[in-house]
């Protein structure tokens, strides 16, 4: 059966598949043992504290022999006769070489702290890595320590401001995440925008599945779910505390070996592992709260005359104080005024023996949202087990089960008067919407709009319940281990499965519910996704007897089977108190199936030569996918890179400059269904009907192709105390998956095809400097800078618009020769969403038992279409109505779009933390002798925000993750700031 299907793959496919198979078999069959004459044992320790360094790799230079230290820092290896040089490296320490004389059997090695992780290894392919100081690409690496400084429930916000070249923005402030990771700016117009996310070798889903709130909001009139539903992209499910390291491949030159799924970059996440030794426990307990970070405010009316200026007449019914004075109610503050206790408990234990390692962790997380009926809960259990099976096999199994419940209320665009920031523009300060009692009937109707947001949030349920399981098994087989070559075969199989359940209940008693003649709305959404990854790699390393170079050859395959299945049922007209979907009078159902299968094959060669100063890399990847028009066709993505280190600059041993150049290609697969031209279906009077669908597909559709050149220089000065990296990139994306807007007289909305070209050039830099480095005190500052410019260099179809609400309200217009992110209004170009630049600045200082750190994130420029303000102006209810709002509205009504296209620059204090290590005496007294270390921390996130943007927040996006039309503010859920008090115990 399997072989039959193999034959169907087409001539080209078959040939490559068989070639790979032959290679694997050949390599596996040639195992032999090398000559190893003597044993060297020793201990690796910290140069300052002399504490043992566990997990350090000790290798014999000029060979491929290596060993790993145990929890006591000890190792033992078989080395050739004669004097040898050992190279020792460990995560967080600088690499060190020591010479062991021919008659010396033991050795002690002290390692210095590697402040900027310059010597950590970074990935260069699917199964290969190289030390950061050799890397030919700017690969950003973020460590667990950097991720965990100020707690956040989801990983994308933990990365904000930490990766040069990554613009990470949260789509809303709703609890439970939902954010966009954009690497090196715009890489596409209509295709997928999210980077490929890989956890321990497994491609995980970052799908954003709409919750179905459209049934209530009617944001996209008709239909069950919409992209304005404020969906969470599912990277939010990861537990940040389990992450050991995040590596970010930002462009095609670094990511080519990931092929046609990597055009938006690759985020490679490695979870923690245990190390040999006694069990070590870590416990973190946090208490904190969330508070709304910013309120818009509204016009405060003084008297009935003032009131009548907005509502026409009848103001005296509300403003009946002395002299017609108006009472003032702040519904906005009341709505977002909750700040209940949020808690998090983490517990992990890790350890192992020589043959077994384990890391087990648990998480209980509970965030209280800033509005009633909102919040986020997450529970996670993880077990990462490693087991050595005999001399040559090593098996590791990682399993993670996560449950989360996000309660996100209602926000974003609507057409039903339900989303709070579409109701507040017409809710005047003299309207009292406060309830007189606890029941749904105790909430007054909104005299000026269709809903009372206080009532809506108190009784509208929007629960997103997700169960997710990740599991990977990796078998490493040392097929050949000799002094001068080794061949490792790695097989990884994994699954990522989640079930998302969305329950929305909008009870019939809510003020707005009767207006469509169908009081009460209930939505049941069920989505399941299965990602299966099967990958195999053979890595052959060769060092000649002369030791002149090291050649690493890697080849492998990666098979993916993804199956996303979304069912959404909307029920209308339900009895009071009922919540079951089958109690609804009227039911509509939508189902969406997206099965995808793809296969990638790759080979890569790396040569490290000239005393590890020169690195030359070349390779290519071949990909096929069911999403392409021809699922049997392979697409090839080559890459090449070179780096050279100029060492001992100015005579200083540790100082060096590395020059690097890299070139590569990646693809971006057609969106699911791009090759189909589906009809639209519906019923009329119980009769099923089919008619012309919106989109015309292309049966020959193929992936977009990105070609990137990256040039850079990395500088290490002051013996590693200062470092800087500078990178220029130029990427062109051709064969764009264009969605040509058709003339509406064609009867279809758009047509998918490959064509056109987008160019994006940019510059990124990072700087790090250890101002003070002494046993008592350390003080490190870091900075990043990033800027890019995307231009449409070739567009084979007429100018078209994408997203937005029409030209008058600002639309993103794709036009040859213009910026890809220009915003066009009635009067022409009115703005651009691309920021001038993005910078971050962080400082971390340790003094004796104290640590203090902060991270500032600055985005300069980049416009946002602020439609929330337009609505406040239209309601004559903006806070600055009398001084500026009136004029804005007059300008808008005279045909100008400009007033609502606003600069969304911001400077945010992303993280602030102060921690204190308790003295041993206090620790023992409080927690007993077993506790080795106790630390208390005060931390905050997004505490300060400086912006001239007049909306709720310059980061938000009405349409979620988008390549082009992201910057549209329509009634978002307001972001919050958080404060946490934490206790960390190690025992």
């Amino acid at each position: 059966m399997a072989v039959d299907r193999l034959m169907m793959g087409g001539i080209v496919g078959k040939r490559i598949d068989m070639w790979l198979l032959a290679l694997c078999l050949l390599m596996a069959g040639t195992a032999s043992a090398g000559a190893q004459q003597r044993t060297i044992s020793g201990r690796v320790g910290n140069a300052v504290s002399n504490e043992p360094v566990a997990g350090a790799t000790v290798g014999v230079v000029g060979t491929v022999i290596s060993a790993v230290t145990d929890a006591r820092g000890q190792f033992s290896l078989s080395a050739p006769d004669g004097a040898v040089t050992l190279a020792v490296r460990a995560i967080g320490y600088k690499r060190r070489t020591v010479t062991v004389a021919a008659d010396q059997a033991t050795v002690a090695v002290d390692l210095d702290h590697d402040i900027f992780n310059l010597e950590a290894v970074v990935v260069t392919g699917q199964a290969t890595s190289v030390e950061q100081k050799n890397a030919a690409n700017s690969i950003s690496s973020v460590t667990a320590e950097e991720l965990g400084r100020a707690p956040t429930p989801t990983i994308e916000s933990a990365l904000q401001g930490k990766v040069p070249g990554a613009l990470i923005q949260m789509n809303s402030g709703a609890p439970g995440g939902g954010g966009q990771i954009s690497l090196r700016g715009v890489s596409t117009i209509n295709a997928a925008v999210d980077p490929l996310i890989i956890v321990d070798g497994l491609v995980i889903s970052n799908a954003a599945i709409a919750n179905g709130m459209n049934a209530v909001s009617a944001a996209a009139a008709g239909g069950n779910a919409s992209n304005q539903d404020n969906a969470v992209n599912r990277i939010a499910d990861l537990n940040p505390a389990d992450i050991e390291r995040v590596e970010v491949l930002k462009g095609a030159s670094a990511a080519a070996i990931y092929g046609s799924a990597a055009s938006n970059g690759v985020v490679i996440i490695t979870t923690r592992r245990g190390q040999a030794g006694a069990p070590t426990f870590h416990m973190t307990q946090r208490f904190g709260q969330y508070r709304v970070s910013h309120l818009l405010g509204s016009r405060v009316f003084t008297d009935s005359v003032d009131a009548n200026s907005a509502i026409g007449s009848g103001g005296s019914a509300y403003c009946n104080g002395p002299g017609g004075a108006c009472p003032v109610f702040d519904t906005e503050a009341a709505l977002w005024g909750r700040h209940d206790l949020s808690t998090e408990t983490q517990l992990s234990v890790s350890g192992g023996t020589d043959n077994t390692s384990y890391y087990l962790s648990g998480l209980l997380h509970n965030d209280a949202g800033i509005a009633e009926n909102t919040g986020y809960q997450k529970q996670s259990l993880r077990a990462n087990i490693g087991q050595r099976l005999g001399q040559r096999f090593n098996l590791s199994v990682n399993m993670n089960v996560v449950h989360s419940l996000a309660q996100r209320g209602i926000s974003n665009n609507d057409n039903s008067g339900t989303s709070p920031y579409l109701v507040l523009p017409f809710t005047y300060s003299f309207a009292n919407l406060n309830p007189t009692g606890p029941t749904i009937g105790d909430y007054p109707n909104n005299p000026f709009e269709r809903s009372n947001p206080l009532q809506t949030f108190a009784f509208l349920k929007n629960d997103e319940d997700v169960w997710r399981a990740f599991g990977t098994g990796t078998l490493r087989f040392d097929a050949i281990t000799t002094a001068h070559q080794n061949l490792q075969v790695i097989l990884t199989g994994g699954l990522d499965q989640f079930n998302q359940r969305n329950d929305i209940l909008s009870p019939p008693e809510l003020e707005f519910e009767g207006q469509d003649g169908q009081p009460g709305t209930v939505v049941l959404g069920k989505a399941s996704n299965l990602n299966l990854t099967l990958a195999g790699h053979a890595v052959h390393t060769y060092v000649p007897a002369s030791g002149g170079f090291q050649a690493t050859t890697a080849a492998g395959f990666q098979y993916g089977d993804r199956d996303l299945n979304v069912t959404n049922i909307t029920g209308r007209t339900i009895l009071s108190g009922q919540r079951n979907i089958d109690q609804a009078t009227s039911i509509s159902i939508a189902e969406d199936l997206q099965p995808v299968r793809d296969l990638g094959l790759y080979v890569q060669e790396e040569v490290l030569a000239l005393d590890r100063r020169l690195l030359v890399t070349g390779g290519f990847r071949a990909d096929r996918s069911s999403r392409n028009g021809d699922p049997g066709q392979y697409f090839f993505y080559p890459k090449a890179a070179v780096s050279y280190r100029l060492t001992s600059i100015g005579g200083n041993d540790g100082d060096e400059i590395k020059l690097r150049a890299a070139w590569g290609q990646t693809g971006n697969l057609p969106t699911f269904g791009a090759k189909f031209t589906p009809d639209t279906t519906g019923t009329i009077n119980g009769r099923f009907g089919t008619f012309v669908g919106q989109r015309s597909g292309d049966a020959t559709i193929k992936p977009e192709r990105q070609t990137e050149i990256e040039l850079g220089a990395d500088v290490i000065l002051l013996n590693g105390r200062a470092n800087a990296t500078f990178t220029f990139f130029n990427k062109t994306i051709s064969d764009l998956l264009l969605l040509q807007t058709l003339p509406p007289s064609s009867g279809q909305v758009d047509r998918i095809f490959n064509g056109g070209k987008l160019r994006n050039r940019g510059f990124e830099a990072s700087l790090g400097y250890a101002l003070v480095q002494s046993p008592e005190m350390s003080w490190i500052v870091r900075g990043t800078f990033f800027s890019y410019r995307p231009v449409i260099v070739d567009l084979p179809v007429p100018t078209f618009q994408t997203l937005g609400f029409g030209t008058a309200l600002g639309a993103f217009q794709i036009e040859q020769g213009k910026s890809a992110t220009q915003i066009v209004g009635n009067e022409g170009v009115v703005g651009d969403a691309t920021p001038d630049f993005q910078m971050s600045f962080s400082t971390d200082a340790d003094y004796k038992r104290w640590s203090i750190g902060m991270l500032w994130d600055w985005k300069k420029g980049g416009d946002v279409i602020n439609l929330t303000e337009l609505l406040f102006d239209f309601g004559q209810n903006s806070k600055d109505w009398n001084t500026a709002g009136q004029q804005r509205l007059a300008d808008f009504l005279s045909g100008l779009t400009q007033p609502f296209i606003q600069d969304a620059s911001y400077l945010k204090l992303r993280e602030l933390n102060v921690s204190y290590h308790l003295p041993q005496s206090a620790t023992s007294a409080m927690f007993g002798q077993r506790v080795r270390d106790a630390r208390i921390t005060l931390s905050g996130r997004n505490l300060i925000r400086i912006t001239s943007f007049r909306g709720i927040d310059p980061e938000v996006s009405n349409f979620g993750n988008q390549a082009i039309g992201r910057n549209i503010d329509v009634a978002p859920f307001p972001p919050s700031r958080s404060f946490f008090f934490s206790i960390d115990l190690d025992f």
Partner: protein, 456 residues
């Protein structure tokens, strides 16, 4: 060696374990050659669903522009800015750029059907003709929808081509009307050769028109409307005469008040896959309010009370003021989400006959039909002097009756005032308000022709 077997298994699995050919699991492809009976039936229902998609939207949008209605929608101010003050935004498919695409989607759906129906071996020749007549009639209705909203000489007609082709050329409004008229005649010919029954079942809204022979009555009713529109736009007496001929073959009926509502309707519903009539809102909180002009100019019944048509369609409610506009009445002629909307009904046919007779018939014939409607529909006294009035005076009387008879049923007021050159008779509420004479050609239509907005 075990390891070899394992590697072999893995490599084979990875390269070919699964079928990469995945067909569309979510929805059908467009109707193709030799369609089965069930595919033809689904396409026929689909044509009506496509036609339905602009119906309720047109009632409110054209109602606002023609000052039948206001829409006070807190989520979107453009109902009281763009539609009443301007400028119309050709770039927004929901406002200025509306009432174009949906009709062309219906047209494409009908063309897809017409292109393959001759290959349907499962259908007899008569059934193929019946299907053609049905599709052509609905296609004509869709083109008329485009013309109702657009008075520019920029109407694409030859749209039966691949979407990647250059956009269909523009033709003048008059040519488009002539085309629609001819299309209805072609449809009549096909229906006449259509045998006893359609090869599909029409929805209940077409009760009475559900055989090819009866469907011709609906086709002729549309023909009469098109000819009267053409006549008032300049064609004059030949078109009025053609309208009278068409009315003779239509379902026009003056045998009693019970038949005034007879006609063809489009159904809405709340069943699975169906869409509700979004005009059905609780009148006490509805966003859709009645323009106060209607109450001011309504006549009084002999027994007291305003025009029965006005009272039947509207109801008083708490007053609402938005942006200087005030109303205290809402519509109630679509009470439930399943309320259907008329495509054309007998009451309109009677007034079309009056209008045609006003040009080519007698004053007495005009008065007879106008007064039939006044008495039976409005509960008003007959206008005794009408027969003796001048033709222009009688036209004003006909337009007044049309306002109340066809109120909130599809933008009739705006169309009527425009085609008779009386647009200035539409009232303005605020300083700066305007009377639109047409919606603009959508920006995307212009961009596809490589001209800028406003240049087409």
């Amino acid at each position: 060696m075990k390891i070899r077997h394992l590697l072999y298994a893995v490599a084979v699995l990875g390269s070919g374990a699964c079928d990469y050919n995945i067909t569309n699991p979510n929805s059908p492809e467009p109707i193709g050659n030799n369609p089965s009976r069930s595919i033809v039936a689904a396409a026929a229902s689909g044509i009506l669903i496509a036609q339905r998609s602009d119906l309720a939207d047109w009632v409110i949008d054209a109602g606002i522009i023609g000052r039948e209605a206001y829409r006070f929608d807190g989520s979107d101010p453009r109902f009281v800015t763009e539609f009443l003050v301007g400028p119309l935004d050709a770039g927004s498919a929901a406002f200025g750029g509306d009432h174009w695409f949906e009709h062309y989607r219906t047209i494409r759906s009908t063309n897809n059907m017409l292109n393959v129906i001759g290959t349907a071996t499962a259908l007899s020749a008569a059934e193929q003709n019946a299907t053609r007549g049905f599709a052509e009639t609905i296609q004509a209705l869709a083109f008329l929808g485009v013309l109702n909203a657009h008075t520019q000489d920029s109407i694409p007609l030859a749209v039966n081509q691949p979407v990647s082709s250059a956009p269909a050329p523009y033709v003048s409004n008059d040519s488009a009307y002539a085309f629609v008229s001819g299309l209805l005649d072609l449809a009549q010919t096909h229906l006449t050769a259509g045998g006893a029954a359609f090869p599909f079942t029409l929805p209940v809204g077409f009760a009475g028109f559900d055989t090819p022979a009866n469907f011709i009555k609906f086709n002729r009713a549309l023909k009469a409307r098109v000819e009267v529109y053409r006549a008032s736009r300049g064609c004059g007496n030949p078109c009025y005469t053609a309208a009278l001929t068409a009315l003779g073959a239509s379902f026009i009926d003056t045998t009693g008040p019970g038949t005034l509502n007879a006609g063809a309707y489009i159904d809405f519903g709340t069943g699975p896959g169906d869409i509700p009539n979004f005009l059905a809102q609780d009148p006490q909180t509805s966003d859709n309010l009645v323009h106060p002009m209607l109450e001011d100019s309504a006549e009084t019944q002999t027994g007291g009370g305003l025009d029965a048509r006005f009272l039947a369609k509207t109801v008083s409610r708490p007053s609402r003021t938005v942006s200087g506009l005030t109303s205290d009445r809402s519509f109630r002629n679509y009470p439930a989400p399943g309320s259907s909307i008329a495509l054309i009904r007998n009451e309109e046919l009677i007034l079309l006959r009056a209008e045609a007779n006003n040009a080519v018939g007698t004053g007495a014939a005009v008065a007879a039909d106008v007064n039939y409607v006044r008495v039976n529909s409005g509960g008003l006294a007959a206008n005794a002097g009408l027969a003796a009035q001048t033709a222009p005076q009688r036209l004003d009387a006909i337009l007044h009756e049309r306002l109340y008879s066809l109120l909130y049923e599809g933008g009739h007021r705006w169309i009527d005032m425009r085609r008779t050159g009386k647009l200035a008779g539409i009232p303005l509420d605020r300083v700066g308000d305007v009377r639109h004479s047409t919606l603009p050609i959508p920006t995307d239509e212009c961009l596809a022709r490589a001209t800028g907005p406003g240049q087409c």
